[in-house]
Point group: C2
Chain length 305, copies 2
């Protein structure tokens, strides 16, 4: 790789991941200042030379509203100073859940947010976005959008850190995803079953509980936000007589006290990828962004992968 012409900008909160990337891809870390004036407006100044460079902005978009304008300003400032382009790595991508009108009059914020990002970033790269009704980011992003996946890293982490694991899918929706992680971790998996006894009387059972009672249960989900599903699942396993589970999430959003609540509910440990900086980060995904640092055929003389 010839990465002389790429420079990484770590937006506040993304410093550790960006420094890991800089080492891995042999790219310079750019210096800039973003601060607030007393009146709440944002000040941006870039100290590094960005002339003719591809600027890679690393900015996880959890709690997105206050982050958007500083990111937008940084991108425009770089272009004004002669950068060739600005590309966004958003390890966690926001506004993926409001992807249709659930009720009349609702805004489809997934779409509006995508149009705003597509207006200033030349490409966007993210880790496992919450794609539900859209099958691909290209349905809403008008710029090239690359999705990288953390599943293999999670499988590897389980293989290396948990003895006798059994993966748990909280419901049938999660089956495909849990199945894949389990297969790569050489671990068995079970999916919890809902037993409906009446309109409001739904119980959850753990199939083959006797077989797995002495193994270490592992819950895996893409986003841990309120942690409600995980907390409920921890309860189901406890009542079924299983051991306290390991709870793994890709994205450590943790709204409010969710992290503490999940620990208090009886998780053996909570583990996340470093897509959002958090003390539970143990799975490093910084090596997933190779394409961002190798796709610049103009400067490397290679074709895009």
């Amino acid at each position: 790789m010839n990465n002389q012409n790429i420079i990484i900008f770590a937006l506040p909160g993304n410093e550790i991941l960006a420094i890991d990337m800089a080492k891995k891809y042999q790219v310079q870390i750019g210096e800039f200042t973003i601060r607030s004036f007393p009146d709440g407006e944002t000040y941006v100044r870039i100290h590094s030379d960005v002339t003719d460079k591809k600027v890679v902005m690393v900015c996880s978009l959890d709690r997105p509203d206050a982050k958007l304008l500083p990111l937008f300003f940084l991108s425009h400032t770089a272009i004004e100073l002669g950068a060739k382009c600005t590309c966004l790595i958003a390890p966690y991508l926001a506004y993926m859940r409001q992807d249709k009108q659930f009720h009349p009059g609702e805004g489809i914020t997934s779409r509006y947010f995508a149009s705003l990002i597509s207006g200033f970033a030349e490409t966007i790269t993210t880790v496992d976005p919450h794609l539900h009704r859209f099958s691909s980011l290209s349905e809403i992003y008008s710029v090239p959008a690359t999705v990288v996946r953390a599943a293999n890293h999670i499988s590897d982490w389980i293989k290396n850190n948990i003895s006798d694991p059994v993966l748990i899918g909280p419901d049938s929706e999660s089956e495909q995803w849990v199945c894949e992680v389990a297969a790569n971790a050489n671990a068995p998996f079970i999916v919890l079953e809902k037993i409906r006894r009446g309109d409001k009387d739904v119980d959850v059972s753990v199939p083959m509980v006797e077989k797995y009672k002495h193994q270490n249960p592992v819950l895996v989900d893409d986003i841990i936000s309120t942690a409600r599903t995980m907390i409920e699942t921890v309860g189901h396993l406890k009542r079924a007589g299983m051991k306290p589970p390991f709870c793994i999430g890709i994205h450590a959003v943790f709204a409010g006290n969710a992290y503490l609540d999940l620990l208090k509910a009886g998780a053996a440990k909570v583990i996340t990828c470093n897509s959002i900086s958090h003390e539970s980060n143990e799975i490093d995904i910084s090596d997933l962004f190779f394409s961002v640092f190798n796709s610049d055929s103009e400067t490397t003389g290679k074709m895009e992968e």
Copy 2:
């Protein structure tokens, strides 16, 4: 006016002003919900029928960063629901001060912010923006931008509420503006003078202090943000033996404890226009927006003014 086809949306914090406008211009107030999900994302839902209507969004843009995305989403939602257009009344307009590169590498946020607003609002209307190096909003806003002025309302308020006023300009830069307000208030004015005794020894004198010692001094400025200039000027007047001054600002930004600090510094009273909702609001500017509610020649059958 036939204002059946206009609807006002008051963004949070702008309710009082928007209701005043709705009464004055006989326009319906629209109903909508903006709230935050636990993960910090914004939810938008419009309850009123906006089909074929001109949607006027009232949103003062002090502390702008967290307000931008909700406003952007509301505008897109209205358009998606069939609104004819969305127009922005931002009684206070943000990002007017970083209007050039004061140091190498700085972003000219005035320009970037204007491009973002121009991307979703069909017109923008504001009260006395802080135009310094740009002579008009049209230099940075690509959509029609209308400026309305509060000077006459301030003059009227002074005439009606302060006996024997004398207007004070804190420095020569303010002379033109203070002169105009004074003239319409039928009041005299004086501009403070800097007396330079050495490189760092600058004193400020109050000309003709004996003549105005028994009158009520009135300070007027466009934005009261940190209130530093006003607090200093209050000090100069006190040391010169004048009465405690009335401090009038158009825009009640009041960063941090600025309001309290200004009162503690010895202001007789602090008075502002209601462009930003604040307890010091006494000067109503809701009647300045006639053009927004009368410019719709298609629906009114009249020509634009």
